[in-house]
């Protein structure tokens, strides 16, 4: 049993080290002064931002709006019973902006783009496109991994803030329609509860989740060796590990700050 725990722990550290190496290599490629292939890499980066960020706007809008409506409905009906009806804004800030916004955005990105990246890279490995790139002198880290990582991190950051704004708007719709809280009072309640630290935390989480999801999905995509049957297996691992790693990052960021 102890041996099993020891082996799993070592494997866990090795996995995290591999993800960190992948991420650091992508950062080095991003800041590298080499001009070779910059235009082509930029093309891949723009495609990634369009797919992960822009194309995700409709589904993000719907989920954020519904979440805002649900939270304010619950808060607006329960808090007055406790004599805390004025805390609707705080509830929105604490639940959506601090926690659920970044997390649910990360889950949306994992479901849409993380799986796409893992599948795409897995298929590229099986059909030896990855080897073909290497043979053409095109570094995988620069042409394949870096633009996907940067695209995902930037998209995640922007989507997280977008999610927060739409969720707050959803909350306002309920507040206005059911709780008859005027717009100005609602905005005032939210802004009073919102601190610079909250916005900073949202940004840090967006960047952290984006980096974690991108590294995990690229890693598992490239872990496919020679069979198409490995592609769904690695994609599933990428999804599960992305969720776990996002929650881990969340704990690491949140606990020291708010505890």
């Amino acid at each position: 049993m102890i041996e099993w725990v020891g082996r799993k722990t070592v494997a866990g550290y090795a996995y995290l080290a591999a993800l960190a190496t992948l991420f650091i290599q992508a950062v080095l490629d991003l800041i590298s002064p080499a001009r070779q292939g910059r235009r082509e890499t930029l093309r891949v980066l723009i495609r990634q931002i369009l797919f992960t960020g822009v194309d995700a706007l409709p589904v993000t809008s719907v989920i954020a709006l519904l979440l805002g409506i649900i939270i304010v409905t619950q808060a607006g009906t329960q808090l007055p019973k406790l004599g805390a009806g004025g805390l609707v804004g705080s509830i929105i800030v604490v639940t959506v902006i601090r926690e659920l916004g970044p997390l649910i955005t990360a889950f949306i990105v994992v479901g849409r783009s993380g799986t796409a990246i893992a599948t795409e890279l897995g298929n590229m490995s099986v059909t030896r496109e990855v080897v073909a790139l290497r043979l053409m002198g095109i570094p995988i880290s620069q042409f394949v991994i870096m633009p996907r990582m940067v695209g995902m991190v930037l998209s995640m950051l922007c989507l997280t803030f977008y999610f927060d704004v739409v969720a707050v708007f959803g909350g306002y719709l309920v507040a206005d329609a059911q709780l008859t809280i005027p717009f100005s009072a609602f905005v005032d309640s939210v802004t009073r509860a919102l601190s610079t630290t909250d916005l900073l935390m949202t940004a840090i989480k967006g960047l952290g989740f984006g980096s974690a999801v991108a590294a995990v999905c690229c890693y598992h995509g490239l872990a496919v060796r020679s069979s198409y049957t490995e592609v769904p297996q690695q994609t599933t691992r990428a999804v599960i590990n992305s969720f776990v790693l996002c929650l881990l990052v969340d704990v690491v960021v949140t606990v020291p700050l708010y505890l």
């Binding site: 001009r35 070779q36 292939g37 030896r128 496109e129 790139l133 043979l135 053409m136 002198g137 095109i138």
Partner: protein
Amino acid sequence: MSETAISFVQVRAPLAGSTSCLHLDLRIAAGQFVALVGPSRSGKSLAIELAAGLLPPQSGKVMVLGQDWSALEEAGDGSMRLRVGTVLQQPGLLSNMTLFNNVLLPLRYHRGAMPDPQREQAAMAQLERLGLASLRDRFPAELNHGEIRRGAIARSLMLEPDVLLLDDPVAGLDADMVLVLKQYVDARRQQQPLTVVAALRSFSPFIEGADRLIVLQDGRVEADGSVESVGRTVPPALRRYAG
């Protein structure tokens, strides 16, 4: 003595799916067209992958254009890749790009200063020579094996390499296309010094004009010489591989 393009110095490498090893100790002169033939699992593809620097040998060393692949890989120097064009059994055309963009990619990536029209003209010229011009906007999934292979060969020559390594170049090609490919490679060799190493499952018109024919079996060189001499000296069981 002519310059050496590729040398396998006492190379030993394990053959996949077999207990035997590939043993190679040979040099290929610059500008030569060398054909490797032999039955499946004889080590032809492994020899190509070793020459392409995709695998390190278990022992010995593989030198290409005077450079040791393993030293280059350790130093992270990718510039050698531009001097060696390689097409493997699975040619690896990028599935999210059209045939034209696949052929154009090496120039787009490595010749950033080249004007777009010039690059596109160069890519189109290669496609035309290989009878692929009408398929330029198709994706790899819409092409047959022979078309994919020809597209990959065109792509591998876009950077005008000094060495061309081909693994099973005629697989999936009809007899006419084999001749088209042969004429294409011959024309490229006349335009510029180009060392060609092609691995084939059996003798083909593609290698009729080869300078050297090497017959492999179970990882060992069974015959090595001109196409005519190998035909005479090769063991009877391998004669059909040597034409």
